[in-house]
């Protein structure tokens, strides 16, 4: 079963993502509420198949988390999908370029599943 890590500071949002993906039985979804916790998990050699990353988070935002992941050769190849409520168009452009995908909240659950499938199938 593929492992998906959800990084989002809003527990209700993380819960919804987890429930939406659980339905499909293809994924094991783990949620953390900060960039730091995400890095902690990885440092303990828990490597997910894909990270769903929020951008606007306190302390360490999604851009910073992305940068840290890119800097580490062990983590560089984990596909990252930004999942954000940011409206600003320049974020959309930057996010689409540096990550595997950029999805805006509120997302459509079927669309989210389809896009994750696309990335994980491509990787196989």
């Amino acid at each position: 079963m593929k492992k998906i890590l959800v990084v989002d500071d809003e527990p209700d949002v993380a819960f919804a993502i987890k429930r939406n993906l659980k339905k499909f039985d293809d994924y094991e979804v783990t949620c953390v509420n900060s960039g730091k916790r995400c890095l902690n998990l990885l440092e303990n050699n828990w490597i997910p198949d894909l990270i769903l990353l929020d951008i606007m988070m306190p302390d360490m935002n999604g851009w910073e988390v992305h940068k840290r992941l890119q800097e580490n050769p062990k983590w560089r190849d984990i596909p990252i999908v930004f999942l954000t409520a940011i409206t600003d168009k320049s974020s959309h452009i930057t996010g689409s370029v540096i990550a595997e995908d950029y999805i805006e909240k509120p997302y459509d659950p079927m669309d989210l599943k389809r896009r994750i499938d696309n990335i994980l199938n491509k990787k196989k």
Partner: protein, 352 residues
Amino acid sequence: MSDPVFVLDIQDRIVDTNPVALKIFDYTDSGMIGEKFEEIFSNQHDLVECIQDKKETRIETFINIKNERHYFDIQINPLRNNQDSVKGCVISLRDISDLKKAQQELRKFNEELEQKVKERTAEIEKLLRHKDEFINQLGHDLKSPLTPLIGLLPAVEQQEKDPELKELLVVANRNVKYMRDLVVKTLQLEQLNSPNNVFNITEVNLSGAVDDILKNKKLIFEEKVLIVENTVDKEIVVSADKVQLVELFDNLITNAVKFTPKDGAITIDARKDGDFVVVSVADTGIGLTMEQMYRVFDEFYKVDPSRHDLDSSGLGLSICKRIVEKHGGRIWVESLGPGKGATFYFIIPTKY
């Protein structure tokens, strides 16, 4: 008060003058008559030089009188005898100090005004930036709580077996979706209206872009048994922001689906016209009245306000209009009337 006048002979001696001149330059009659002009106005080299030529001349210069600078508009006219040979000249000096002062004040006033305009512009730009930041933050904070609602409510509705409860969930679901559309579309329109929003223009294959959208909407077309055709020439390339172009088509096609009854047809076509492409999205739907055609691009306009239409934010076509206009194009709609279908047209450049 009249202007000071001097009459000079051929040797530049003052032969006559008027009381005003005596008064202004503080001379008595006897002190000035017979004197050389250049001696009385010894500091006025420009003026003295002009007088020696004895040609019709006009100069503007200043003369210091009692430690005060006076500006004069000076006219020199030669005096001729019957044989038309020059025998002297007449010099009249018009004091334009007040005019000069007014001009200087006007210049200063203009400079101050310009400075003020600069300051105000900077202030407005700052306020606009604040507004954009506020909208972005508001957008984020409105979308965040909608995310779990949009994500979870449909699942709850699907799983609910009790018909009464299910009915409540259908209503809740419909309104949450409406709320999402309003928030997303309002923010989109706001972004399109912001001067800071710059398009990322690239060459886009039109037919390919339409195909991508049709693929995503296949389920919806099947549900309503609609025949949807993309007859756009595969060679046509436009200069556009791809994200915005997709948004534009998405809105127009969603609109066509909404107003076309079961078993209808939607056709997307395009033809080149010089440096432009005319794109059309035609449907066999309920059509439009004249009034509706005029107002359909207005913000929050809904074709049937009595229907309490929760499928539409009333902003989709306003967004289309802004997108097309920001590409330097134009959008319009044609319909033969109610029940006779509608065709939305837009023109968009092939080169930017």
